[in-house]
Symmetry: C2
Subunit: 394 residues, 2 copies
């Protein structure tokens, strides 16, 4: 019997191996290779290539200036490094030692952007796929928080809710902390909003929300909480592949979006969560935060519902005080536990982040502005979530 089962097993394997070989390149090259000294080696098999480069966020950035309506803004473009051709057509490049982070990169082969065929790890940001790798160098490094450790793990659920105010079913993602299922306790809620062109999978995939929360909670640095990640593009239902139409997401999609629809429809999200989860309700148990467009939405939500959110996090996205003074006065009259702004020093949004901070200072409203290096990038948003989550519900 054993032999015959083995044969059947082998046949299964052989067929599928073949299928895999027929589809994939199967070069046998290891790339990226994380070396013991935390340098990272990239390899590419390109015997016919003339020039092979890697572009990624672990290389020194190039500051690129651009203008929006007369405002001069700066964007940090990822750096570029050349791979060197070695024996057998294998190109190679090794970085300087890196700190623990989740890094993104692509290859440029004779100028054409291509994925690393040796690395299955990749992420989609709006309409762009890039390869990623996770370096968990030292405990406490950002990369350490984004990695999976042997700690109690929460659950991540993708589900649908009815939005009467938008007239459709919509999809959202919910993180519940370890132990939620076997407890009778009620948990505070963080509503966490993505940026323009994103969807309800952005924070769980690109943002590593589950890993950050698992690790912070296991270390006792964050309170166990429910994290709700809705879809913030009001005319979409769900992420690509999960929606009725097969759309191609773009930034332009969101351009016609006013924040009004999110403000008006947000109670649909909150009542779904409050009716379906064991939620500790109320101001002191409810937080809202978001990145870029979602930061602006979070700000507008705090202005629209000044007594709803005891904690507000604006990551590289704000509304400015001008014309909103009375609404901001109402926000701070309720004495929020935390009004926290995070922004990169080379992010174009810094101008308005500082403007809001200065105005709040002038009124004596307690606002934290955390100025990080870098620009309008996920690397910063993961860090902001890690910092913000530790200050909630305490």
């Amino acid at each position: 019997m054993k032999r015959i089962i083995t044969l059947a097993a082998l046949a299964c394997l052989a067929v599928s191996s073949y299928a895999q070989q027929a589809l994939g390149p199967g070069t046998g090259i290891v790339s990226p290779e994380i070396n013991p000294d935390h340098t990272v080696t990239f390899r590419y098999f390109g015997p016919k290539a003339i020039k092979v480069q890697v572009t990624g966020d672990f290389l020194p950035t190039r500051a690129v200036e651009y203008e929006v309506e007369g405002h001069k803004l700066t964007f940090d473009a990822p750096g570029v490094a050349d791979l060197k051709e070695g024996p057998k057509g294998i190109w190679e490049y090794t970085t300087a030692p890196l700190t623990g982070e989740l890094y993104s990169y692509s290859f440029l082969v004779d100028g054409v952007r291509t994925m690393d065929p040796s690395n299955i790890y990749q992420n989609r940001d709006i309409a762009t796929w890039t390869n990623i790798f996770l370096l968990s160098a030292n405990e406490g490094d950002p990369g350490w928080y984004y990695s999976v450790h042997d700690v109690p793990h929460g659950s991540v659920t993708h589900q649908w809710y009815d939005s009467p105010s938008l007239g459709k079913q919509r999809r959202l993602t919910v993180y519940t902390p370890a132990g939620y299922e076997n407890s009778k306790a009620r948990y505070p809620v963080l509503y966490l909003l993505h940026g323009s062109g994103g969807d309800e999978e952005a924070w769980s995939d690109l943002g590593r929300t589950a890993q950050i929360m698992d690790n912070l909670i296991a270390e006792g640095k964050a309170e166990p909480m429910i994290v709700v990640m809705p879809n913030g593009v009001w005319f979409n239902q769900a992420a690509p592949g999960e929606a009725v139409n097969m759309f191609q997401p773009t930034m332009q999609n969101s351009r016609s979006q006013s924040t009004a629809e999110i403000e008006e429809s947000f109670p649909d999200v909150m009542s779904f969560i409050e009716n379906n989860y064991r939620v500790a309700k109320g101001y002191a148990n409810t937080a809202v935060a978001g990145l870029s467009m979602g930061g602006r939405q979070s700000c507008m939500l705090s202005l629209s519902y000044p007594k709803k959110f005891g904690y507000v996090g604006l990551f590289s996205g704000v509304a400015v005080p001008d014309g909103n003074e009375a609404a901001f006065d109402a926000v701070f009259a309720a004495h929020p536990k935390l009004y926290w702004i995070g922004c990169g020093k080379s992010d174009g949004i810094m101008v308005n982040s500082r403007k809001l901070k200065e105005w709040c200072d002038s009124r004596g409203y307690p606002v934290t502005l955390y100025e990080s290096d870098g620009g309008h990038i996920w690397r910063n948003w993961r860090t902001y979530l890690t910092l913000f989550a530790q200050q909630l519900f305490k």
Copy 2:
């Protein structure tokens, strides 16, 4: 105020648009384009390319012979078609009219396999990424069942369970049908196992399980049920990116796997589900099915626990009767409600699928063998799930 908010919004958009442009090619080309007559047009911008081809499962397959331990087997390799160069370096190919299906493809540019830069829809099968598109031509087509329709949607949860017999935490995926959250009812359970090299995301991503179940249940063709998709590679914890180590999945990974570990540890999965979900327990409410390696595992699970699974589905993977006669006798002594084998006519596993069917026939054991076209491919496994799920718990 409006103007200033708009400016802040524009700045958010501009920064991110730029970031996107810097990373992606932004060719503005539409590919694939699904035409009203259900032909599909592929486009690729390659002004310097000499030859551009598309390879996909919508093209006539090429039968490729290979041998495993003296057994001649045949694999259906995807077909290849040439794109034709048109103005401005844009290459184009249009298919014949296609039936509704979820199709996979890649480009071959001067012989090098590359993704379609205009299509963000892609799937990972073990270590290979391919582009996909979903054609929902007519109601009742396979592609119609894999599409999202405006019907009540179930939830998909990724969570962790403790496996004392494997000595580690492991991740699984659970589909609960629409209405589960707001009901007190108990639901029957289908345990659904992936193939060699796969993980707990294979059936939900490549298999479109949630969409198939949502649509079948909405039409009244399947009973509302819980579908549990565990990780069937006993020495892994979780899918790539969700595990403690950053591994590169391969078929070889599974080669050292005996089915014994899955049989021994499967009660850990079942008791987790029965303790955490409202499960209708017992033989008549419990099904197990799997593809390839998971088909063999399902068969072995039925042999190990003949009174556990009233419904058994073996998709392109079986154990043979030789040496297992007494165990198979015990399986059929319990009178399973359904013992169902699905296999492709050009799948190497067909030899053993027919062997099992014939042996069962000779003993008078009721077994269904569904022989489909094609080979050892996901397209068949999605169809088998669609057929199998309609026969459960009735």
